[in-house]
Amino acid sequence: MHIPDGYLSPSTCAIAYASAAPFWYVAMQKVKRQLHTRFVPLISVFSAFSFVIMMFNLPLPGGTTGHATGVGLAAVVLGPWAGMLAISVALAIQAVFFGDGGITAIGANCFNIAIVGSLVASLVYRLVAGTSAMGSSRRLLAAGLAGYAGINAAALITAIEFGLQPMLFRDAAGTPLYAPYPLSIAIPAMMIGHLTFAGFAEFLVSAGVVSYLQRTDPTLLAREAPGAEVSLAAASLRKLWAGLALLMILTPLGLLAVGSAWGEWAPEDFANPETRREIASASQGQAPATAPAGLQRLSTIWTAPIPDYAPPILKSAAFGYVLSAMAGTGLIILFSLVAFRRRNV
């Protein structure tokens, strides 16, 4: 995929540099505005990360291994503009310092992989993921497809560049001077490998790493999933409301319990022989003859508006439980809303 020197004519390389330059400029302006002083450290560290993951041998089904460019992953995590800068820097370093890709072809490699790849990957990711929840499998599929589409778009552009060479650059005897194959050979030759192994490696690394991040560090996915956090919260809240409603409906189950809870006795319980027996059996035979003085005194300080979860106006104990649950939950929510608003002011 990394085009070496000698495969493209100097004029093709010049056009590729000229085509990449406006994207680099716009990306630089956009990302600088977005990141301010974080621009240089974030892009350079992510470029170093991209460089290293390009060297990973990913185990693919069938016992083979493959490399990924990480273009889909960069687009999913950083977005198309920051992603194209990070991948461009990694590609430039590969070409200049490690001879992977040509120096004259840096513009073409960056245009194909970093620019076209990032833009296509980002578009596919946004289209497929929509505003789905951060932890959803739809977002996972979107990331995988983004990587797959990004690398295949890059491969297609590369194949077209190769295929144009023999049409445009031949000597007097008809000898192709650069990449020798026409479009009819270059496109299938490039695409067969990329639609299968390379595309699958890219799908795997994008979806696999997003899956890992969903479980361990979903905040890293938040940058390119603006609606997802809200939908994640909404989804969680919907489940919470449903759980709460179910618990409220089930509150009358408490009526099935026999006796009273240990230690939750009222002063009059000590005067009632039946409840005294219950107190004694639950307290190793010890039951005070009368209600303790402190309990007697303090129990009159506050009279609950709905004693024993049974509003006096209702005859049905079960409905009283449900109503009490609703009133209690409502009060807690009201209190939380007031407290939360105050904290945010």
């Binding site: 020197d5 450290p41 291994t65 004259t104 023999p166 192709p176």
Partner: protein, 272 residues
Amino acid sequence: MSEGLHHLVHRRKGFLDRTLAELAHVLDRSFSAELLSTSSGLLQGIDPRVKLAGAGILILTAAASRSLWLLAAVFVVTVTLAFASHLKVRELLTLWISVLLFSGVIALPALFLTPGQPLGWGVTKQGLQAATFLLARVLATSTVGSVLVSTTPWNHLLRAMRAFRLPVVAVVLIGMTYRYIFLFIQTTMDMLEGRQSRLAGELPAKERRAMALATVGVLMSKAFELSSDIHLAMQSRGYRGEVHALDESPLRVRDWAILSILAVGSGVALWR
């Protein structure tokens, strides 16, 4: 080695070993280049700006050439300069073999698929020339690039890029990235070796994939944490988003002379 142990070692040569080997290769190559670039030699003594411009001229000459003789001349000049700068034959041979293997596979079908005057066994004259052009061009340009990097310390190369009006922010990005690549390589090697040392046998393919992807995921989390730390460290040293480069000293007469000879020579060779 017993058959069982041999089988185990053989089976374990999976993605862990291959990735570790590739990472180690990059470290090894950079270390060798760093050592050579700071030793004494013909190209080591030349201003990096001249070397960068000279390499650019040679690469452009090779890229634009329509003559196999000119491509051969670029190759011979570069190899001569490489030997005068104490580049090891083994390193050049490794480069050439890898280039010939990669581009050879691509060039080979051109012998048969390029329409033209038949030479026998399905090979055409134009096909043979096209394949030779491709291989010669790739061989010449990759040798120039390799000699440049092997004889110039990377920080000097970056300064030279700045002298050719490459935006300062691009130079800073490349420089910082280059530094952190080695940190990430080391971190990755530590992580992979840690896993490898705990493996008693071969993992199923699914778990191998999960391990590779988890490693990438952890590396990404580390990258974000690291970028935040670096950002804070830069800010604490007064960084406010603007990057500056140091002024360069002017080129000497000898540097101008080398550049002029190369430029005129290439121009004449291409024009003819």
